[in-house]
């Protein structure tokens, strides 16, 4: 073999590969044509379209994005969002799948911003992905609204300028669950937990225990179970809970695992021994119906869906969503809707102030510490230097209405945002460990 000829080939190959990639990606991204009169705002939407999280979170999130953006563009959202588009400019979207490795997500985030020229990104369900794209968003100076991930670490570990999260973080879910339990069972002596063995499950349980310790120090932890994520089979865990006989069992399970657990524990009568607290139970409520034992405590990561108070915006949102997709919106749909409305509120405010299409920095300035109405609650971007939203939250007790054959939530208790969220100057962990000082619950 002649030395050097390989190199010619390698060079050629590299050039060809690079060329192919540029051409390929350019064609792939050049999906839209004929620009409208006003230059559109290009919005990247990233949510699970495949994989286990697609059904419960990803698709409801995408559906909400689809209907909301359509309505925003048409100016059909009720007041105060009745103006079309973002500051008058129509929204153009590109939807990507969140499934795949973190490296893929970061690469695609860069592609969205640098290759496809997106003006803002709304997305991300997995906390891992949120943590990974946040620094990239800062580096690329790309306005990013995280819509469903729960980890409080995002704004606690570092101060971010370009990243926002209208959806309150997960600490609120656990604290409110604890407060609800203590309110209903003031004499509680012991409780157990069954949570998926990954960050969300571990964090949810840790926060719940910390809140319980502060609220009812005499109650002891009986069993802490951490089945594998997507295990599907919970026979052994249910046996362990049946033998533990704790009055309260906390679970942050969601969809697939949640439904499997409800079915398997139902067949073995776990509800006779324990009352379940499903912090994400709302997502399975309609699909499971009478399978959920009456008396179970149900949360919705906010006061969404059936837990939402009456409002024109909520009624409208439920109607358009149900008309289009045939099912009521789940909390991930609310998360997406409130994220988009937050972005719109900030953008419109900045546009009025600027008198023209606002720059990213102007939108950020408007978004920080913003207060706006979501379909289910007022969101205040009160913590995380004005980048993290807080809202009221509600928990309730499940009851199956046999006469009308539909699930209901009774005994709804609402907790004000300041009652279940740490103050602006404290991290969640520190706040919980200190016994939740400064919580305002009335």
């Amino acid at each position: 073999m002649v030395p050097g000829t390989t190199f010619v080939r390698v060079c050629k190959a590299v050039l060809v590969a690079t060329g192919v990639s540029i051409i390929g990606l350019a064609t792939a991204s050049a999906q839209t044509a004929t620009p409208p009169a006003v230059a559109p705002v290009k919005l990247g939407i990233v949510t699970f379209l495949t994989g286990a999280a697609a059904g419960p979170f990803g698709i409801p999130g995408r559906n909400a994005a689809e209907i909301m953006i359509e309505m925003i563009n048409a100016g059909k959202v009720p007041e105060p969002y009745a103006t079309p588009g973002l500051g008058g400019a129509p929204i153009e979207t590109k939807v990507l799948d969140e499934n795949g490795s973190t490296a893929n997500q970061v690469t695609e985030f860069r592609n969205l911003v640098q290759r496809d020229g997106m003006h803002a990104i709304v997305g991300y369900i997995s906390s891992g992905n949120c943590l990974a794209v946040a620094p990239v968003a800062e580096e690329l100076k790309a306005l990013t609204v995280l819509f469903d991930c729960g980890t409080p670490r995002i704004f606690e570990e570092k101060s971010l300028k370009y990243v926002f999260r209208a959806t309150p973080h997960a600490t609120m879910d656990s604290v409110a669950a604890a407060r609800y339990v203590v309110k209903k069972y003031p004499e509680l002596t012991s409780y157990s937990g069954v949570n998926q063995n990954y960050a969300w499950g571990q964090d949810s349980w840790r926060d719940f225990v910390a809140a319980m310790k502060a609220l009812t120090p005499k109650a002891k932890v009986e069993k802490e179970l951490f089945p594998k994520l997507f295990a599907g089979e919970f026979g052994a865990e249910i046996s362990a809970l049946l033998t533990a006989k704790s009055p309260i069992v906390h679970s942050s399970f969601w969809n697939g695992d949640l439904e499997s657990f409800i079915v398997q524990s139902g067949a073995r009568g776990l509800s006779k021994e324990s009352t379940m607290v499903y912090t994400a139970g709302e997502s399975a409520m309609f699909r499971m119906g009478s399978k959920i034992p009456d008396g179970s405590i149900i949360g919705a990561r906010g006061q969404h869906g059936v837990l939402a108070p009456e409002s024109a915006l909520n009624t409208w949102f439920r109607k358009v969503y149900e008309d289009r997709f045939g099912t009521p919106p789940l909390y991930p749909s609310y998360h997406m809707a409130q994220s988009l409305l937050g972005l719109k509120a900030a953008w419109d405010k900045a546009a009025i102030k600027a008198g023209k299409r606002p720059t990213t920095d102007e939108v950020i300035a408007a978004f920080e510490n913003l207060e706006f109405e979501g379909p289910s609650a007022k969101i205040r971007m009160a913590i995380g230097n004005g980048h993290q939203g807080i809202s009221d939250i509600a928990y309730g007790t499940f009851k199956y209405n046999k006469a009308e054959a539909r699930p209901e939530i009774v005994d709804i208790v609402r907790f004000p945002a300041e009652c279940v969220n740490p103050p602006a100057n404290m991290t969640s962990t520190a706040w919980l460990e200190a016994g939740m000082p400064g919580a305002k619950c009335n």
Binding site: A52, G55, A231, A236, N255, G256
Partner: protein
């Protein structure tokens, strides 16, 4: 005491499930030397089609007992059709190539079929709980145990007995044994190896689909459920010894009981209990517990 009962029953239930899932994989590996990643797809399709069949069946309001027949029938149909198509269209082309290349063909098929699932059934989970809920539960030493789960244990035991009997006593079983131990010689003695391959793959596919079908009533059938199963089944088969029915049985029992112990006694270890057992077994028995002695001739 009640914990001991719980460990044994939970371990057996889990082992039964593992065995049904792993036996098809082990069979295909033993006879064809294919590590079939698409087994996860058989499992997933079995679960989806069974869930659909159960849904249709119970919507008609027919008697509950027939629901169990629907599970079995849908699994067999799924396995036969998928197995036949995959073997004839794809695997046939790569017989005789490196084992690893064949593994990757099945991996590619698995990737494709995962997305096909979503195209057919959407990303929403499918529910088919009736057979599980209808079965009810009984009390064993103070512990409520699902009758469906007990049925699974009995089913797995019958399957194990039938499989061991079939391998040892039937003509097809002997053919399989011949091919497992020495493909070339079996072929030289007039065994139609190609036919044996097709039948084995069909059988393996049916068993994989059956694994999914019997699980469907217990779980929310949702995308991605095949991924977890593959690695679990691999672990069981590696522990037991590739291609051995007895091995798959023992592997399933070991993993099942070990996991149950972990959940009840040391919940934090559950996550890697299976892999630790697998590594440990392989350290002492590099080819699994039941493996034909592989002496190389000089």
């Amino acid at each position: 005491m009640i914990t001991a009962i719980a460990i044994v029953t939970d371990g057996l239930v889990y082992a039964a499930w593992l065995f049904v899932v792993a036996i098809g994989l082990s069979l295909i590996f033993g006879v064809m030397k294919i590590l079939n990643v698409a087994h996860g797809a058989f499992y997933a399709f079995g679960a989806y089609i069974s869930a659909t069949a159960i849904g249709l069946y119970f919507d008609r309001g027919w008697p509950a007992a027939g629901g169990y027949v629907a599970i079995g029938a849908s699994a067999i149909a799924t396995g036969l059709i998928m197995g036949y198509v995959l073997e004839r269209v794809f695997l046939r082309r790569v017989y005789g190539k490196d084992e690893v290349v064949v593994v990757l063909v099945t991996y590619a098929l698995f990737l494709i079929l995962e997305d096909v699932l979503i195209l057919i059934w959407g990303a929403e989970g499918k529910a088919a709980y009736q057979p599980y809920s209808e079965a009810g539960s009984i009390d064993i030493g103070g512990l409520a145990v699902s009758l469906y789960d007990i049925g699974l244990v009995i089913f797995a035991a019958l399957l194990a007995i039938a499989a061991i009997f079939a391998i040892k006593k039937t003509t097809f079983g002997r053919l399989l044994t011949a091919v497992i131990y020495d493909r070339e010689t079996a072929s030289a003695f007039g065994v139609d190896v190609s036919r044996v391959y097709t039948l084995t793959f069909l059988l393996g596919a049916v068993l994989g689909a059956l694994g999914g079908a019997i699980t469907a009533p217990k779980i929310s059938v949702s995308p991605g459920l095949g991924v977890e199963v593959i690695v679990l089944a691999f672990a069981v088969v590696a522990i037991g010894g590739m291609g051995s029915i007895e091995g798959a049985l023992l592997g399933a029992l070991i993993v099942g009981l070990f996991r149950a112990c972990a959940v009840h006694l040391a919940p934090n270890l559950e996550l890697f209990a299976i892999y630790a057992v697998m590594a440990l077994v392989l350290v002492f028995r590099p080819h699994g517990l039941f493996s034909p002695a592989l002496a190389r001739k000089i």
